[in-house]
């Protein structure tokens, strides 16, 4: 997948977790907790969704590496 496709997929799963987020408004460096206000349950649901979609088992210690769309794209590209 290209970085654009990875980003689109990440944002899609993000919006499933938090349907009020508008895709166009999400910046590459927006922090999913500090800026987009996901709580720990939302983050776990996002990680679960990414696991289901990409088959990547993101350990808890790696959560900081998916904290923004830009970080997540790099992480997914590396892990996929």
């Amino acid at each position: 997948m290209t970085p654009q496709e990875l980003k689109a997929a990440f944002i899609e799963e993000l919006i499933k977790v938090a349907p009020d987020i508008e895709a166009d408004m999400v910046g590459d460096d927006d922090h999913i907790q500090d800026d987009l206000e996901l709580d720990s349950m939302d983050v776990l649901n996002l990680v679960t969704a990414l696991h289901a979609r990409f088959g990547i088992d993101i350990p808890e210690s790696d959560y900081p590496q998916i904290a923004t769309p830009a970080l997540a794209v790099a992480y997914l590209a590396k892990s996929g």
């Binding site: 499933k16 349907p19 720990s40 649901n45 993101i58 350990p59």
Partner: protein, 407 residues
């Protein structure tokens, strides 16, 4: 129309889940009602056969008004439906105030439309919509993905579907809904009003006092990290599940903090229905309970919390989930302020406020070491219990958190 909290005055019937001739039992979902707290599933609290649906879809009904007539076994149907039926028995947790007289659709000054939430475009799958909205969309051939939702979290409500195609609200029979009823303030403004009413009542009526204890969270954090390392994401636990489990076990031991205060007396409960405060995105708060939390494992507690958070955000809670909690746990989450003194959710008598965990110097033996800590504050109703019992609750909570494997 059951009371779903002391602050509720009325609700709007939006969907029937039963029909005449159905056999129903306690706990079955009879209808969906839109309230200040979103769309709520109303449960049956008697066994029997549905004889007649007396309320109309779209009708706004005061608390206590009959919705349907259910006949018990061997009970004969009345010849004609009573013009002014007796109020149905209230659920046990309902306030004892007399039910309002049954007058459907009270005329009110039309509320000024509050600033509506910005409509949200969303992918076609996983569209959040009330069942009534889904059914009406199917009837009208409307694609839900094209409808802007104004419900909680952008959920599509009945009025949104009808607004999208410009049809009059669905109605049957003659109980027309006044036109101004269609102009609704935003659901979030309604929820703020509901929270304002409940919290004002709490601070007006409940003489709160607070006890706090900072506890060593390191054993629980380490246990959680090790447990989650071997688990797939869908099976992982959150610290919140340990907090709820420890609170439930502590509340089962110190019964004075568990239950309801009704009719000038504390009715303590042998079971712990542990309300979990769930922040709704965009504002608002609900606290549906993990039922029988004292008997659930940590994994079962976590599964129940996941389900509650998902349904709370989608606006799919049940009526019993708004009224049956016996104690509430409110945690600030991973980051943020270190302590919180919460407001008790009436008619409950205590609330466990949990700050965000902090790394702090900790004295162990004669040494000072860095430890992960958390400050737990119990808000308590002084009509019901005293400092000693409250302190015992915190000591029990602390104790339980030091052996997370046993939770």
């Amino acid at each position: 129309m059951p009371s779903l909290g002391a602050d509720m005055e009325d609700g709007t019937l939006v969907e029937w889940m039963i029909k005449p001739g159905d056999t129903v039992k306690r706990g079955d979902v009879a209808a969906v009602v839109e309230t200040q707290k979103g769309a709520i599933e109303i449960e049956v609290f008697e066994e029997g056969t549905v004889h007649q649906l007396t309320a109309e879809l779209g009708q706004k009904l005061p608390v206590g008004a009959p919705l349907a007539l259910i006949l018990g076994q061997g009970e004969a149907a009345p010849d004609t439906p009573p013009a002014s039926p007796e109020p149905r028995p209230a659920p046990p947790s309902a306030p004892s105030s007399p039910a309002p007289t049954v007058e459907p659709t009270v005329a009110e000054a039309p509320p000024r439309p509050a600033a509506a939430p910005t409509p949200v475009a969303r992918p076609p799958q996983d569209v959040a919509a009330s069942p009534a909205a889904r059914r009406r969309a199917a009837e009208l051939g409307v694609d839900l993905a094209t409808v802007a939702g104004t419900g909680l979290g952008g959920a599509i409500q009945l009025a949104d579907v009808e607004g999208a195609v410009g049809v009059a609200p669905a109605k049957t029979g003659t109980a027309a809904v006044p036109a101004h009823e269609a102009v609704k303030p935003s659901p979030m403004a309604e929820m703020r009003k509901a929270i304002a009413a409940a919290m004002s009542r709490s601070k007006r009526e409940i003489p709160h006092f607070y006890v706090s204890q900072t506890i060593d969270l390191t054993p629980a954090a380490q246990w959680l990290e090790a447990a989650n390392a071997d688990r797939r994401p869908s099976e992982r636990l959150l610290m919140g599940a340990l907090f709820v489990r420890a609170s439930a076990l502590a509340a089962a031991r110190i019964k004075a903090v568990n239950g309801h205060y009704t009719n000038d007396a504390h009715v303590s409960s042998d079971t712990v229905h542990a309300g979990v405060a769930v922040a709704l995105r965009g504002g608002g708060l609900v606290a549906p309970p993990v039922f029988d939390a004292q008997d659930k494992t940590v994994d079962e507690t976590m599964a129940a919390m996941r389900d509650l958070v998902t349904r709370a955000r989608a606006g799919r809670l049940r009526g019993s989930e708004l009224t049956m909690g016996t104690i509430t746990i409110s945690a600030l989450g991973d980051t943020g302020a270190e302590a919180m003194s919460g407001v008790i959710f009436p008619p409950q008598v205590a609330l466990v406020g949990i700050g965000a965990p902090q790394k702090r110097p900790w004295v162990t033996g004669d040494r000072v070491v860095p430890r992960k800590t958390v400050t737990v504050t119990l808000s308590v109703d002084h009509r019901v219990c005293d400092g000693r019992q409250a302190a015992r609750f915190l000591a029990a909570f602390d104790d339980l958190m030091q052996s997370p494997e046993a939770l």
